[in-house]
């Protein structure tokens, strides 16, 4: 898991490298863009269906009309989705933001200790953590909720936050550990020579360079916490406190499924994570390139 500390500057795009192999590169460029566009269309096809159905009236929302442009453009589905989902959106934010921040920070502390301030058995502890990623949630839901009520843990969103923090320990430790492994040993040596203790080293040496790993972890955690359904529907009994995934599921109704409402609600529920990706995407890439999750 060695790598250069500084990612190399991106090379010139293929097109610019004209010369004796110029023509080859130009056609390679066309093929490349063609392939990229083809995949982009494939990826966007379902998004197209989501968007186009969300602006249709109920009469036109039928699988048989999946591809057609609406004859009647309407925003009722979006308005209904907003009415049904906005309280749940608030709950999701109240859930995802604290849980993401806390589990990310916890991950950085754990990752640091497991890679840079090692103790005997550090690898065993890491394996111990990692294995916990694989537990199927259905298996733990009933004893988990019983545990919560036995210790009288504060009801509602705090329980869900706690659950996500605990079950996020493995993946956050994994990401930070791989990332911190790329910190040059010289930096740690210098800190040691200055007789800096563990926390001081963390605060002054490791933390300042952790931003890329923070971004990768935060994005991953935010997405999985925001999109989780199983924990949310079981741990939170009060419908007023449900996050948006449960509210989205409830748009189905047990009678007829209003597809346009479901699709607009699905888009609405995805907007915050999408915004996170658009804003932080660049840093996400930088974080990955700097070594987070390198293996």
């Amino acid at each position: 898991m060695t790598s250069t500390a500084v990612p190399p500057a991106p090379p010139l795009p293929a097109r610019a490298r004209l010369g004796r192999r110029g023509a080859q590169y130009v056609s390679a460029g066309v093929v490349r863009y063609g392939a990229l566009a083809f995949f982009a269309i494939l990826v966007l096809l379902p998004v197209y269906v989501l968007v186009i159905t969300s602006v249709k009236g109920v009469a036109e929302t039928d699988p048989s009309h999946a591809w057609s442009i609406p004859q009647l453009w309407t925003t009722t589905a979006w308005r209904d989705a907003w009415t049904q989902l906005s309280p749940a959106l608030g709950n999701s934010f109240k859930l995802a933001i604290p849980a993401t921040i806390i589990s990310t920070v916890l991950g950085s502390l754990n990752g640091f200790a497991l890679s840079k301030w090692r103790f005997p058995g550090a690898d065993i502890v890491f394996t111990f953590f990692l294995f916990g990623m694989f537990i199927p949630y259905q298996a733990v839901l009933i004893p988990l909720t019983q545990l919560f009520s036995d210790v009288n843990f504060p009801n509602g969103i705090p329980r869900l936050i706690f659950a996500h923090i605990v079950y996020g320990i493995p993946i956050t430790a994994l990401i930070f550990r791989s990332y911190y492994a790329t910190i040059p040993e010289e930096l740690m040596e210098a800190a040691r020579m200055d007789r800096a203790g563990m926390l001081r080293t963390f605060w002054s040496v490791v933390l300042p360079v952790s931003a890329p790993a923070f971004v990768v972890t935060a994005i991953w955690q935010f997405t999985s916490i925001w999109n989780d359904f199983l924990f949310a529907v079981f741990i939170i009994g009060d419908p007023a406190k449900w996050p948006v995934t449960v509210a989205l599921n409830n748009t189905a109704g047990s009678f007829v499924t209003p597809y346009n409402l479901q699709m607009s609600a699905a888009l609405l529920a995805s907007l915050p994570t999408l915004v996170v990706y658009v804003l932080l995407g660049r840093y996400f890439m930088r974080g990955l390139m700097a070594g987070a999750l390198k293996g």
């Binding site: 250069t4 379902p46 200790a113 694989f134 997405t223 999750l293 293996g295």
Partner: protein
């Protein structure tokens, strides 16, 4: 012990997480295993030892072998498909193209959509209605002149679960692309140049210089995709409900615990899933740790 003062703080730092994982993961795993060996087969809790009764019941259950076939097919298709598409996209982008940010955001977008929402729209796309009732992708194939591609999708008798993997591939290729892209860009350019100087064609540069560097990424990706695949529940239920034709162990576990209230048998499935996963994960972890020690 020498140097306890040195590494003691590290151990202390991770100890809260160790405790949390010990209780909420391993404690609950043990609870699970205990229940799987008990005679708690109804709504009335019972903790008498029943040996392997639940396991034998599961073994002779024809639904169980169906579930195993389904999850195997799903997992293989999902992992292979996601790795392939992710690698291809990263390969197309890695030398740098104009609009890379745009393409990356497009490919990453599906990850923002929850599995429930993805299930809703892919259920429409993979509509298996025949003939003149065809909708979804079947109708697109027909219009594009490749009507022979129209098929039964997730209802197909032998390959249904491979089709079920498509929404999952759609959702996660972007993330794997990001991992591979970081991997590609982490290969020092001078290594590539050196190989080119030695007269290697671009393809051989990839094969002998770049791809070996991607091995750790592939392993990381395998772990992440593997753990998603085993646990996947929302997606399957959103598309196929809990019917046998698309049932997986995770879905059957739900049915046993919450519909049939056969807790012991449900816990047996959870235990078997964990055992199966350990068979794959433990070698990986051992390999990683050894590789680290060597580096």
């Amino acid at each position: 012990m020498r140097n306890v003062r040195r590494w003691g703080p590290g151990l202390l730092l991770v100890s809260p997480s160790i405790v949390l994982i010990a209780v909420f993961v391993y404690g609950l795993i043990v609870w699970n295993i205990k229940v799987s060996f008990s005679d708690w087969r109804t709504s009335v809790p019972s903790h008498k030892w029943a040996g392997l009764a639940a396991y034998r019941d599961l073994n002779s259950d024809p639904a169980w072998s169906q579930d195993l076939h389904h999850i195997l097919l799903f997992t293989v298709t999902f992992i292979a498909g996601t790795l392939l598409v992710g690698l291809t996209l990263a390969f197309l982008l890695e030398k740098g193209v104009r609009g890379e940010g745009f393409f990356r955001s497009v490919y990453l977008f599906p990850m923002a959509v929850s599995f429930i929402a993805a299930g809703v729209v892919w259920r429409w796309l993979m509509n298996p209605a025949p003939g003149d009732r065809a909708t979804g992708l079947n109708v697109v194939f027909d219009k594009l002149g490749v009507g022979f591609l129209a098929n039964q999708w997730y209802l197909g008798l032998n390959w249904g679960m491979a089709a079920m993997a498509m929404p999952a591939i759609w959702a996660l290729s972007g993330y794997i692309m990001a991992l591979y892209l970081a991997g590609f860009r982490g290969v020092p350019e001078d290594l590539r140049e050196a190989a080119r100087m030695d007269g290697a064609s671009e393809w051989r540069v990839y094969r002998h210089v770049v791809f070996p560097h991607l091995r750790p990424v592939t392993l990381s990706a395998l772990v992440i995709l593997g753990h998603i695949s085993i646990k996947v529940f929302d997606l399957i239920v959103a598309i196929g409900g809990k019917q046998l034709v698309t049932q997986t162990p995770a879905v059957y576990m739900w049915i046993l615990i919450y519909d049939a209230q056969d807790y012991a048998k449900g816990a047996a499935i959870a235990t078997l899933l964990l055992v199966g996963i350990s068979a794959l994960i433990v070698p990986y972890l051992v390999y990683t740790v050894r590789a680290e020690r060597r580096a």
